[in-house]
């Protein structure tokens, strides 16, 4: 028994809050890693676009800088 529940019932229902929280935290770090790559990518992309137009890099209001 785990907290008065049979193990399979406990894991079926009450393990999820902890599992979801752990998944969300892992997702945070995975997404943070992607963000770093994407920031570098977006900066390079903007520079490329600017060079094609012969202008300064376009200001993307509201986007990641």
């Amino acid at each position: 028994m785990i907290f008065g529940l049979e193990p399979h019932v406990f894991f079926a229902f009450l393990s999820w809050p902890v599992t979801y929280t752990i998944i969300a935290i892992i997702m945070y770090f995975v997404m943070a890693k992607h963000d770093k790559k994407e920031e570098a990518w977006e900066k390079a992309y903007d520079e490329w676009q600017a060079s094609l137009k012969g202008d300064e890099a376009p200001a993307e209001g509201g986007e990641d800088e």
Binding site: F13, L14, Y20, A32, S51
Partner: protein, 529 residues
């Protein structure tokens, strides 16, 4: 009637005045249509997380959810298992990419987003008809819920309760637009979770913790602590379990009034904080009400109406003012859902109907004013219909959820994750998802087959999206580039990266710099110069 004392009236009055105050404050700060309809795309992660989750959760979590677990035991927690992970799917799959693509396409409404991603003469008409009809059904049901809750808890006559409850929602949404909705949702989200957790902690001590609760339940009826419901009512019905979990795990990705929250995020990178905050909030607010319902079996064995289990516990465990705040929390849960739907109605009618079909050259100011008028008109008409009380309006919530989810989910997910998803697939998915949901519900097939309407609708809708996309005309190269860009996967033409091009066209220096410097590109197998 549980409340009805002076304390409850005073606390509720303070709350309603506070909500109106937020509407008035943000009315002054919404100067453009983007401010009014999408909060100027300046919504931070905490606000996004709470508005996303409070919009998804209605008053059901205070009344219907605990009542179900009171009646059926642990089995009801299957719904919580699905709901609890909803934010991970919703923000993780759609958040960042939808924010980017909607920005690139210049969309202010989730219907406009569908139209621009899947260009076609009928896209916006089909999407708008489905969304307006079923989101309206939702609004109506929430207004009626607000009125009935005030009536049941405070003893206010139903017509007056509907007018007060709906009137406040309409006012602050009308005045402050998306920013007012987001900020009221934020406050409502905090009130909701604090009330629920406070009751939970006090009840936890009363029943002797989790072990005490489970042993107590086993003594009353061992099937309460089993996996298949009281008296093993659902023994071996994995289809019902899959439906209960699946509906809420992925269903919110198809609701336009929920996914518009992604479009309003300040930056795509905020998705990572949003997913954590929304998930933690979910665990506190979703599992707890069901467990409170279980505690009610031991603490309130003779309660006449199980829907009142949370409130009755609040009045037994908390001092008067705090119990009155729980009443406010229930109203918050209803209002936070209703305001988002009302806001979406204004957005769709203003942007997707007025500006698209009636006045294409509408100025920013005109669009904002028309959206405001639409919110007011929808609100007033809803109040009138709610006063007449059409039969079956509560079933409309379940029906609307299934229909909206089935109609839009494949198109929203496919929009950012596939480059082959096209207009034909979008048409097929929206029409088939909508029709199958209506037929399944109208024919009562859900109860006959044991398969939830959404479950069937989404399978048909996904199949239609895939088949339609396979036979339809593929998206344009420009659209494919935008989808790639939304996922930061665009292919810079490597042919440009040659010395010849550099000599012929000096402007390609930027490409060369990009290809030399970007480790991102190298990691993905692009040819470095």
């Amino acid at each position: 009637m549980i409340g009805g004392g002076v304390t409850e009236y005073v606390v509720l009055l303070i709350y309603l005045v506070g909500m109106i105050g937020i509407g008035v404050y943000w009315a002054k700060h919404s100067t453009t249509s983007e401010d009014y309809l999408l909060g100027g795309r300046k919504i931070g992660s905490v606000l996004t997380a709470l508005t996303l989750q409070t919009t998804s959760m209605s008053g059901y979590m205070f009344m219907g959810g605990p009542a179900q677990s009171y009646k059926e035991g642990y089995f009801t927690l299957w719904y919580a298992v699905g709901d609890g992970g909803g934010a991970i799917f919703n923000v993780g799959i759609l958040g960042k990419r939808m924010r980017r693509l909607s920005y690139f396409l210049g969309c202010l409404s989730p219907i406009e987003y569908i139209e621009k991603r899947y260009p076609g003469k009928a896209t916006r008409i089909i999407a708008a008809i489905i969304a307006i009809c079923f989101v309206y059904g939702y609004v109506l049901a929430q207004f009626l819920s607000a009125g009935k809750t005030m009536c049941a808890l405070l003893g206010v006559p139903l017509p007056i309760a509907i007018i007060i409850g709906a009137g406040v929602i309409v006012f602050y949404t009308f005045a402050g637009g998306y920013l007012a909705v987001a900020w009221t949702d934020f406050i409502q989200g905090i009130v909701m979770v604090c009330s629920m957790v406070t009751i939970f902690i006090l009840a936890w001590n009363q029943v002797g913790g989790l072990t005490g609760l489970n042993e107590g339940l086993r003594a009353v009826d061992p099937t309460y602590v089993g996996m298949w419901g009281k008296d093993n009512m659902y023994l071996g019905q994995w289809g019902v379990v899959a439906g209960a979990v699946g509906v809420y795990l992925i269903g919110y990705m198809g609701l336009p009034h929920v996914v518009i929250r992604h479009m309003a995020m300040e930056k795509p990178s905020l998705a990572k904080q949003t997913v954590v905050i929304a998930t933690v909030w979910n665990q506190l607010f979703i599992f707890v009400p069901y467990i409170i319902g279980l505690m009610g079996i031991l603490m309130l064995p003779d309660i006449a109406d199980p829907e009142m289990v949370v409130l009755t516990m609040a009045y037994e465990l908390l001092p008067g003012v705090l119990a009155a705040i729980v009443l406010v929390a229930i109203m918050s849960a209803i209002m936070s859902t209703a305001d988002a739907q009302l806001m979406l109605m204004g957005t769709m009618l203003g942007r997707d109907i007025y500006q698209r079909y009636i006045n294409k050259d509408a100025t920013d100011k005109q669009l904002m004013n028309v959206s405001r008028i639409c919110i007011l008109v929808v609100g007033v008409v809803s109040v009138i219909i709610a006063l007449i009380q059409p039969p079956g309006v509560f079933q409309l919530v379940v029906f609307s959820f299934a229909t909206l989810g089935s109609s839009f989910l494949p198109s929203y997910v496919g929009a950012v994750w596939t480059k082959w998803g096209n207009t034909t697939g979008c048409y097929a998915s929206m029409v088939s998802g909508c029709i199958i949901s209506i037929v399944w519900e109208a024919a009562g097939l859900a109860s006959v087959t044991g398969m939830h309407t959404f479950f069937v609708g989404i399978i048909v809708s996904i199949a239609a999206y895939c088949i339609g996309s396979a036979i339809g005309k593929p998206p344009t190269e420009e659209m494919k580039d935008l989808i790639d860009r939304a996922g930061c996967k665009i292919k810079i033409p490597t042919g440009l990266a040659t010395a010849n091009y550099k000599d012929i066209a000096p402007e390609t220096n930027g490409v060369l710099t990009f290809l030399k410097d970007s480790s991102y590109m190298e990691e993905r197998g692009f040819q470095p110069v």
